[in-house]
């Protein structure tokens, strides 16, 4: 049916551009949806937001409570508060943290960079490791592949905070080879990157391996081998590309686990980062901060997923003809 649609003359907008535009527009709706659910979730959770904001350890007087309530407009009807939140974000500003009493731009400004830095380096490392594991073991004997597979599985099943502590103990405390703390310089990035990347690499490598194994008997692989391609070459030129499809579909999962893992890893390695901010903000129901983070994270997912959907037809030409008809 889309063959027909494609035939319709359109103004000179390339179809992919139209697709991206449509997706980003839908992305706005997605971000709004996420925000809305967040807002009501935090308000519905048992306990009073005010108490969360004031925190324990404070000698909360009724006056202080009233103060915080009035200050943040928490006595307004929920919908009014919701509208205010939306208006705030629509105006482009992220707002003011209830709990930390500082502008959210400042709060996040110093934290976004390190998180992105960590996430990107972990992602790249994970990908490289996963592909490397597949390439180095392709066509090897069962023992080698089995051992590699087992190692990947172990990586996968290890909590990243554990891995972090083990890495720290070995490389930082015992060997003094790498710093355990801070976010300055590439050296400080190595261990946290590994702690995040290894479990992820395990997952990716597993998916690649699975794809490779099921591709093994396909006729086109036979053809490639009949040309004299070795296992590695078949992998790099043919099967890896087939594995790319499920791999890129995992982008969202990857992003999520990078975010989630970052909370713990940032803690252990004493890196600044969004993970920490989020954990604090959720813990204390600091709604403006949570909202800002949710907007950032869901925007990130929208962009990533749009990218993946643009990539898919590039990877697999069979997906280029639209529709299922």
């Amino acid at each position: 049916m889309s063959d027909r649609a494609r035939r319709m003359p359109r103004r000179h907008v390339p179809p992919w551009a139209r697709f991206v535009a449509r997706r980003l527009a839908a992305g706005l709706v997605v971000v709004w949806g996420t925000l809305t659910v967040t807002f009501f979730a935090l308000h519905l959770a048992p306990g009073d937001i005010v108490d969360g904001l004031i925190g324990p350890g404070a000698a909360a007087t009724p006056a202080l409570r009233d103060q915080v309530i009035a200050e943040n407009g928490l006595d307004d009807p929920l919908l009014v508060q919701y509208g205010r939140e939306l208006a705030q974000l629509a105006s482009g500003g992220l707002g003011w943290s209830y709990q930390l009493n500082e502008p959210i731009e400042r709060l996040l400004g110093s934290q976004l960079g390190p998180t992105v830095e960590l996430a990107v380096s972990a992602l790249v490392t994970a990908l490289v490791l996963a592909v490397l594991a597949a390439v180095l073991t392709a066509g090897r004997g069962r023992a080698v592949r089995g051992a590699a597979g087992l190692a990947e599985l172990l990586m996968v099943s290890m909590p990243s905070f554990w891995l972090g502590i083990i890495l720290l103990t070995v490389f930082s405390y015992r060997l003094h080879a790498l710093p355990s703390i801070g976010a300055d310089g590439p050296a400080a990035l190595v261990l946290p990157t590994l702690a995040l990347a290894l479990p992820l690499a395990g997952v990716l490598a597993q998916v690649i391996r699975q794809e490779l194994e099921s591709a093994d008997g396909r006729p086109f692989v036979l053809t490639a081998r009949s040309r004299g391609l070795g296992a590695t070459a078949v992998l790099l030129r043919h099967t890896l590309r087939h594995a790319l499809l499920p791999l890129t579909t995992l982008a969202g999962f990857v992003l999520g686990s990078l975010f989630g893992g970052a909370v713990l890893v940032e803690n252990i390695f004493t890196r600044p980062g969004l993970g920490r901010v989020l954990a604090n903000a959720v813990g204390s129901r600091d709604l403006p901060v949570v909202s800002a983070l949710v907007v950032i994270s869901s925007a990130a997912f929208v962009v990533i997923n749009t990218l993946v959907d643009v990539l898919h037809p590039l990877i697999d030409p069979r997906l280029r003809e639209g529709g299922t008809a």
């Binding site: 200050e71 801070g182 004493t270 600044p272 204390s284």
Partner: protein, 520 residues
């Protein structure tokens, strides 16, 4: 001998890298709720008075002061020649600006305003004289004024950046020996020496500018990270070393541990006296007898910490001295007997005691993010100990909002927390019938004891130190006698340092005093 060396040699410089265990929720002590804000900002923000290790009050930015006979007015004569690091001179107006900021609604102070007590207003008598008026006597006022929670910001900063103070860094300007250079949340805070500083309090080990050129405080919340950073030499000193790592650290060459018992209220179990089952003193006493505190303390803290007996840690000025020794005994038999007497004689299928068919159950809400792992483990130990005498202790995990909601309503049987502080007036916030949760206090046992109320009120009103101390001791004895609450253990602040760090001492609050530290 130290102070006799020429200043240039003494103040050679160097940078201290310090591993802190907690990250402040706010860098404005006037607004903050956590003690750590004060702990880390002491080098920047100074107070009118200084508290000596024995609890006595010494002059600092105030040369002298007088208290009106009715206890309602404190008049301070300020030191001259003091400037804030932004160049603003320190004067009476600056003091007024600070106290007004603490009490301003917009600040939403979580702790400092409470310390000021029945504050009425500040009056600038002349540039060197400032009078603080209270609406009621408040004997702990001077002690409070000495804490960093009431440390003094530059009035210019208060005027121009009131909304930014919480972010820390260069917004926070004080008169202290260090300036606050920068902060990276989740990572570190950097302080730089002020070269023209010359007004250290008499409690300080030396005078003049600080020995350190700069301090880098690394915010290492994970115990393992903090200890690891120390052993691998990435920090020169680290605080709050967990008990289970102390033995290992002591054995290392070059590492030394500086230790001081943390003053204030130890980790304490408060039994809700306002409802069954713990409205019955026999039930409370039974619980106290049933728990092998000594054993649990030894197990969890590997013999590093000791059992506590009194409502205030022995190192707190004003703590009842007799509670340095055992005040009750661990005896399951006694516990069982008391419970039998209280009528909990039945047993159900799971072995818990019952009365009139109702199980002897107690609920303890807790917020896991605010309870340290050790304290949580302690709770679990207590849970099992109580089970052995037939009491079911249910640990109820809540988030902070949920827990505050429940404690505010009194919907719990047991609640446990610690409170750091160096003045016996803490007892007022914990046991006065006025100080209920949600009402500005933390009366965890929901005690309504006329005798205690009376003593506390008297103590607050009196200006005579000896009489005040005796009143607080009475309160403490009464609490133990009634078994309203019972403390678990005496925590210590253990700061480990490498050999090149010298002059590291802990102040009256068991906080590191950065001013005296030098790095070789």
């Amino acid at each position: 001998s130290d102070s006799s060396a020429p200043p240039s040699a003494r103040n050679g410089g160097g940078t201290l890298r310090y591993g802190a265990a907690v990250e402040p929720d706010s860098w404005d002590p006037h607004a903050a709720s956590t003690a750590v804000t004060g702990r880390l900002l002491r080098p920047v923000l100074e107070s009118l008075v200084a508290i000596a290790p024995d609890g006595t009050v010494k002059p600092w930015l105030a040369d002298s002061w007088t208290v009106s006979p009715d206890g309602l007015t404190y008049t301070f004569t300020l030191r001259t020649g003091v400037t804030f690091s932004d160049g603003t001179p320190f004067d009476a107006a600056a003091v007024k600006a600070n106290f007004d900021h603490v009490t301003a609604a917009k600040t939403a102070s979580k702790r400092a305003a409470g310390l000021l007590g029945p504050y009425k207003e500040t009056e600038v008598v002349d540039p060197r004289t400032v009078a603080v008026h209270l609406t009621a006597p408040h004997s702990s006022f001077l002690g409070s004024v000495g804490s960093t929670f009431l440390g003094l910001h530059s009035p210019v900063a208060l005027r121009d950046h009131a909304g930014d103070l919480s972010s820390g860094g260069a917004f926070v300007v004080g008169t202290g020996p260090f300036t606050f250079e920068s902060v990276t949340p989740g990572q570190q805070a950097v302080f730089k020496r002020r070269t023209d500083y010359d007004w250290a309090p008499p409690t300080a080990a030396h005078q003049g500018r600080a020995k350190l050129e700069s301090i880098v405080v690394l915010l290492l919340k994970e115990d393992a990270s903090r200890v690891g950073a120390l052993t691998s030499g990435q920090v020169d000193a680290a605080e709050l070393i967990p008990a289970n790592r102390l033995a290992g650290l002591r054995g290392r060459n070059g590492v030394q541990v500086v230790r001081k018992a943390i003053p204030g209220v130890p980790y304490t179990y408060y039994l809700n006296t306002a409802r069954a089952p713990f409205d019955d003193p026999r039930a409370r006493q039974a619980v106290r007898h049933a728990i092998d505190f000594a054993g649990i303390v030894k197990g969890i803290f590997q013999g590093e910490y000791e059992q506590a007996w009194g409502p205030l840690a022995p190192s707190t000025p004003g703590a009842e001295p007799s509670f340095a020794k055992p005040a009750w005994e661990y005896s399951k038999e006694k516990a069982e007997k008391l419970l039998d007497e209280a009528g909990w004689t039945g047993r159900d299928a799971e072995g818990y005691r019952t009365k009139d068919g109702k199980r002897l159950t107690a609920e303890q809400p807790y917020v896991q993010t605010f309870v340290s792992a050790q304290n949580h483990t302690f709770d679990v130990g207590v849970q099992d100990a109580l089970k052995q005498v037939g009491i079911e202790l249910k640990l109820v995990p809540l988030d902070s909002a949920g827990s505050i909601g429940r404690t505010g309503k009194g919907d719990y049987d047991v609640f446990a927390f610690a409170w750091q502080g160096s003045d016996p007036s803490l007892l007022g916030s914990l046991y006065h019938s006025r100080s209920q949760f949600g009402g500005g206090g933390a009366n965890g046992s929901r005690v309504k004891d006329a005798e205690i109320d009376g003593w506390l009120d008297q103590a607050d009103a009196t200006v005579d130190a000896a009489q005040r101390a005796e009143l607080y001791r009475k309160v403490q004895r009464r609490i133990v006698e009634q078994a309203y609450s019972f403390p678990a253990y005496i925590a210590t602040m253990d700061v480990a340092r490498h050999g090149k760090v010298d002059g590291l001492v802990l102040d009256v609050d068991a906080n590191t005093d950065f001013y005296g530290i030098g790095v070789a």
